[in-house]
């Protein structure tokens, strides 16, 4: 079977839009939990709305991914690296679900109302301190894992793009 050289257009667009969205969510999150500044509340409101949009986006992205033909890594990439690449991808999909879901659930467990553009969202949990603790810790630690994964993933992508020049980097950039 002939595999395509590049990711389909829809996937490339989703990849870069989500990269920008998730990076800003991470930096917004890490800054706002420390700051006492007057903009902190605005950032938090924005973080929740954009975080929920990220949840919708990852669902759409997974659907597109499952329905499209994606390129395989070139044979020149060693087996261990092939495996590492698969695990990184799996890790991204997992964490991109865990982040917004834990955010949503921790707001439920804290008894705080949630809405998206004025539309009230249902609470899936009862108010409970230990449950809040669980989802708040997941949100905090999964975020750090995600940062780590992004660093590893970007280094690998740049390595392919700048050093090996084997078309792997290109497959997410161009047709």
């Amino acid at each position: 079977m002939n595999k395509p050289q590049s990711y389909p257009f829809a996937m490339r667009v989703m990849h870069w839009l989500m990269a920008a969205l998730v990076l800003s969510l991470l930096f917004a999150g890490l800054t706002m939990v420390k700051s006492l500044g007057p903009w902190q509340q605005q950032l938090l409101a924005w973080h929740k709305a954009m975080g929920l949009i990220a949840l919708l986006a990852i669902v759409v992205r997974l659907i597109i991914r499952l329905r499209s033909d994606t390129p395989t890594l070139p044979a020149s990439v060693p087996n261990m690296q092939q495996l590492a690449a698969k695990l990184t991808q799996l890790g991204f999909y997992l964490l991109l679900f865990v982040m917004p879901l834990s955010g949503y659930l921790m707001q439920n467990a804290a008894g705080r109302p949630l809405s998206l553009f004025g539309l009230p969202l249902p609470s899936l949990l009862h108010t409970d301190l230990a449950l809040y603790g669980l989802f708040r810790e997941i949100h905090g630690w999964a975020a750090l894992l995600l940062v780590l994964l992004i660093v590893v993933h970007s280094c690998a992508a740049l390595y392919h793009g700048l050093i090996k020049r084997d078309g792997v980097f290109r497959s997410m950039v161009r047709k």
């Binding site: 800054t31 939990v33 006492l36 007057p38 804290a110 109302p113 301190l129 230990a130 603790g133």
Partner: protein
């Protein structure tokens, strides 16, 4: 050449991430700094880092509707709405003697579990000693290093607070204190028109109460629980409207008594329970959890409170979670 380029690029990614994280951590005073300072050297696992000694209450808010013209909030339309609340004393020690605390508090979540919920945490002083989180942090440092008189001398804005303190007489009961929002908020009507306000819960009883043991850590709690056996405890929720002369962003200055005052309704406290068993324990009485019809003022203390309460909430929730894990493992 390629290797140099690659190393530089990878280095830049890592450096950018580290830089972003550490720079945000070097902000003047962070929520974590505040909570570290407030919790002190002995961590009271699972308890609030401030106002640790307290208990849960619940009952009904009977809204008069007098403020309905100023706000679209459901809690201000005529009607009867459930609330979950908490009474507490300031301080990080859950077993500190009730009667020694300089500040007493009443916190409320009216219409819990709904999008209309209104959270408020009120204290006995009507004003803050200082107007910004940074100065409040300095005040806490001064308390720890026993240099409060110097701190007050260096900060003339503390004058109104000191004036209040000079004639404040703590009562023998939580039921007979006055609790103030201190910070100002806006009421917002259906047309979007805003009116700056402060509010206070004023006691509706003149029964002074009897304290059995003055040194008991829960002297006030006992008194309150006994009092509830005789029937509900009531407070009038009184709103004061700002005039053009008042600055809603500065909580150190009292508003004139000639300002318009309206009664939003009556808090009827029907039940009380120790905090670990009550619904209030899971709640963070973040003053910025406001329904439509309310908006925060520009007071910087309000933002600092929201951030510090969230950090305290995170810590105690984590501890309770760990305790449950440990408890589960032991069974």
């Amino acid at each position: 050449m390629r290797y140099v380029l690659f190393t530089a690029a990878a280095g830049a990614v890592v450096a950018a991430a580290v830089y972003a994280v550490t720079v945000s951590g070097r902000a003047p005073v962070s929520a974590q700094d505040f909570v570290n300072l407030q919790q002190g050297d002995t961590i009271q696992m699972g308890f609030r880092r401030a106002h640790a000694n307290g208990f849960c209450i619940s009952g009904e808010f009977q809204a008069s509707g007098e403020l309905a013209a100023y706000s679209s909030a459901k809690a201000l339309q005529p009607g009867s709405y459930p609330f979950i609340g908490r009474m507490s004393i300031a301080g990080n020690n859950p077993t500190a003697p009730d009667l020694r605390a300089p500040v007493r508090s009443l916190a409320l979540t009216i219409l819990p579990d709904t999008a209309d919920q209104w959270r408020t945490a009120m204290n006995t002083p009507p004003v803050m000693a200082v107007a910004t989180p940074e100065k409040f942090y300095q005040q806490l440092l001064a308390i720890q290093s026993n240099t409060v008189p110097q701190f007050f001398a260096d900060h003339p804005e503390t004058a109104h607070f000191l004036e209040w303190r000079s004639h404040y007489q703590p009562s023998q009961s939580y039921a007979t204190e006055r609790y103030h929002s201190i910070n100002a908020f806006y009421l917002v009507d259906r047309q979007g028109k805003r009116q700056a306000v402060r509010w206070a819960a004023l006691p509706l009883t003149d029964d002074a109460g009897v304290i059995a043991d003055e040194e008991a850590p829960d002297a006030l709690q006992q008194e309150f629980f006994n009092r509830l056996q005789q029937g509900p405890v009531r407070f009038d929720v009184q709103f004061t409207l700002a005039t053009a002369n008042d600055d809603p962003a500065d909580a150190t200055i009292p508003w004139p008594e000639t300002n318009p005052q309206l009664s939003a309704g009556t808090i009827v406290i029907e039940q009380a329970s120790v905090q670990q068993e009550g619904a209030c324990n899971a709640l963070n009485f973040d003053p910025l959890v406001l329904p439509a019809g309310f908006a925060p003022s520009a007071d910087p203390i309000l933002r600092a409170r929201a951030a510090a309460y969230a950090e305290s909430h995170r810590r105690r929730a984590r501890e309770v979670l760990m305790q449950q894990f440990a408890g589960g493992a032991n069974e």
